[in-house]
Amino acid sequence: MQVLTLIAAGHLHGTQSGLSVGDRTALHFGNLLAGGPCEARCPESDRHAWTYAVAAGASCAAWNESGMLSPDVILVGPGAIELWGDELAGRLAERFAAELFFDVLSIDWRDSVWTVVCDAGRGCKDIVQLAGPVVVVVSDQAARAPYVSNFRLTQAERFTPTLATVADISPTWQPVTPRPPRKTSPLAVAAEDRTNAAFGIESASAQDRSQKFFSDTPAVCAQVLLRYLVHHGFVSRRLPENQDRPVAAPTSNRQPITTTSLPQSGLTPSQRRSPRRAAESVQRLTRRPRLATDTSVTGQESAFAGPLQRGPRCLNHSERPGRRGPFRLKSLEA
């Protein structure tokens, strides 16, 4: 299994601090899923992340988004999110046609099915089962990773490549560093809203429910709606042959944050989120087909209005046959 882990040390008062619990856990999950050393990526100048990743048994390299292969799972630590923002996770999910989860407490791969447990807030958990590639942002509330001893960290420092920025740091025993802040998530909002935000959709949190409405030109609105529907598998990216592709309106005075990632001249194969073919990979054989048999945008009616009001991931209440995509098994009161 191809496992990729993105981690970065936290920053406290402008100073680089240690790795947060979530980043450590992301590495641990990565090693577990890979059945050995996973591939870790961290900022080139991040000495803490490099050292910790090597000490934890991962193979480390500098973060280079353009040179990535197609992994089965990408584990993103809260430190990396703090550094690069939620857009990173969204961009990766988009690029690798993967499902995206925030605030993940645990992830397991068994019988070709992913089981992802997300923190749904207020003591609730979402347990989602699905197939196919996933991008998960590990929560700081996830189970602790095994302790990495000072001896291992010291030994790892020897193998950490000498970087220009690292050389400035004192070469003696590890200097005392401030502890990373213990917070639940960088944005302190629900995972669902972060997922929407990562795809350019406004937050749907209760306090600013009124602000979720999108005001822009019809073309941009249509584009965002399309992205939303495509992301959640309600429609396919395959457009009718005779249909003009949507183009962002040049008159828009407000650009959705993911507009630039949507190609102006159609979707690339890697961005296509049509039902996966059995031949694509062994792991994807069991992935359930997407809902829509009619994949044209023009054929969609407002039948999705009910579920849409609840948010994209709350699919457990829908008994409609043919519902597709990940489904919630149950909600647990903590």
Binding site: N150, R152, T154, V176
Partner: protein, 665 residues
Amino acid sequence: MFGNEAITREILGNVPHWLAVLFYISATIACSYAALSFWQRTRSSRKSQAPSTPSPVATWNVRVIRVLRYLVFHEQLRRDPYAGWSHLLVVYGFFILFVGTCLVFLEHDTPLHFFYGWFYQAASLVIDLGGLAFLIGLSMFLARRISGCSTRILREWWVTALSGLLLTIGVSGFLLEAARIAIDLPAHEWCSIVGYPLAVGLRSAGLQGSTAVFLQQILWAGHAIVCIAFFTLLPWGFFGHMAYGLTSISLRDERRLSHLPIIPLLAAQPPGATSWINFSPRDLLQTDACTTCGRCNEVCPAAAAGKPLRPRDVVLELRRNHTEHAVPLPDTRLQLSDEVLWSCTTCAACNQACPVGIDVYDKIVDLRRGKVELGQVPASAEDVFASVAEFSNPFDRPNAERLHWARGLDVPVAQDGEPIETLYWIGCSGSFSPEGQSIARSMVKILNHLGVNYRVLGTAERCTGDPARRMGEEGLFQQCAAQNIRELQSRGVKRVITHCPHCYNTMRNEYPGVNPSAAGWQTQHHTEFLAEQMAAGKLEGSKRLNETVTFHDPCYLGRGNGIVREPREILSTLNLPIVEMPRHGETSFCCGAGGGSMWLDVRGSERIENQRYAEASATSASVIGTGCPFCKTMLMAARQASTAADVPGPKILDVAELVVMAEGL
């Protein structure tokens, strides 16, 4: 030379020649087998991958004297008088019988001729007395084992069987002697004070002539068989302690009980142990020496509190692991649960109690190191490690708060780079816990009163690394030690005074192992300092305190470093009557805070500090005195838990606080 040559006996008389030859062959095979087993075990121990320890050969004379003294006086064993005297009788009896057998061998199988006349009679008398002592000692052991009056001994059938085998050797030896004498009942055999009366009894029972000869042959054969069985089983289990025990005692390091030797951090090998292969040959030899006596279990505070740790089980598990997995495989880890390992308070009572010199708690710390390297540590321990690494104290508080205890006091804080002659080391507990802060404030008042030119490091002070080390984080400890040694060296410190026995033990005993230059300053516990000042007449205790004190000896002070006289001298100078608890001085009982147990909490049926508090309260003393901030914290917690709100329990005070009260500071 020795008188009448007729006064002797025929050796191997009436024993058929073939039987004697068979005995010699069997005995040779049995001894060879035993020697081979010892050699194989030693060779297996040498496969250990632990870092090599200093060779004991350089100090062989000291070690030989230690063993002889141990054998002659049995000081360690006689801490339990019944077991000690039983063992003394068995050892003396066994030695005499062994020498007697050697004399018979020399007389019979060498050209030497000395076994006659008065020498023969004297030897017979001594050998019979030795045999009698051997039987009495063994009977005492078996009586205790069978009656069940001792709860600490291991109730395994094979231990009883092996003791029974020894008893059979003794009894069959006397019966054989009686049968030999009964054949013609010579008068000069009266000096066989056990064999002769038995022979008279056999004669009076009608045993004589060919029947007596036949009985002698049967008994000789039986005696020979049990002796050969003994030789064969010599390296096995319980019997092995005869050889391994003495070797273990001879190889034991001369160090204070709380002193954990520094282990080198080698790049190729992580610290710690998960299976026998990670222990040194000496550690493995120690496990072979275990007699399963259970003294370690008896004194262990964790076991007393119903926690899952039994020190003997740790030793036996290590021995089993070594025996069953001579070829180490990845899955040959010791079968010890995490709760067992994290229950230890590192009080060193097990090391102190062990009669064959097994360093039990050293092994537990080594196993904890192994757990740390595997990443399997309790969350609370991980928090302590993180706090020590990031805040330089285990209390999870910013190091900038280190001087909060000194508000309102005139405390001289060392400036950057200022040389220090006398350093008052506050310690993390003194800086952050209310109980420790009170001791630090008292000490500062005393030091100011005495006009001592001292300094405190303030926020430049860091944890000594003791909690991390006792919890198995050796790398973190060595990091803390290196930083502290560098700090103290840069300031040219001559003397360190501290009120924390853990800091005292670490700085005095363990820092020189990290960096030999750390031995350049004198480390004093505040009880030593105060006793010294009182002896010089600088502190007298001008105010009369109407209190009765019972002193709780902290493990790292009393047992660990032998400081038991100084606190009592201070209390005596203050005219405070002392009532001792049953367990005091070097054999004190732990408060339950050591070894990181201040932060770890493995559940038991009872809490250690509650047991100690109950013991202290039973003395009816109005004050429980102590010399450690951690002990004070634990005892205060126990008082809070055990005392009804309307009945105030005894006060819990450090000796420094008592001095301040008595001096009116």
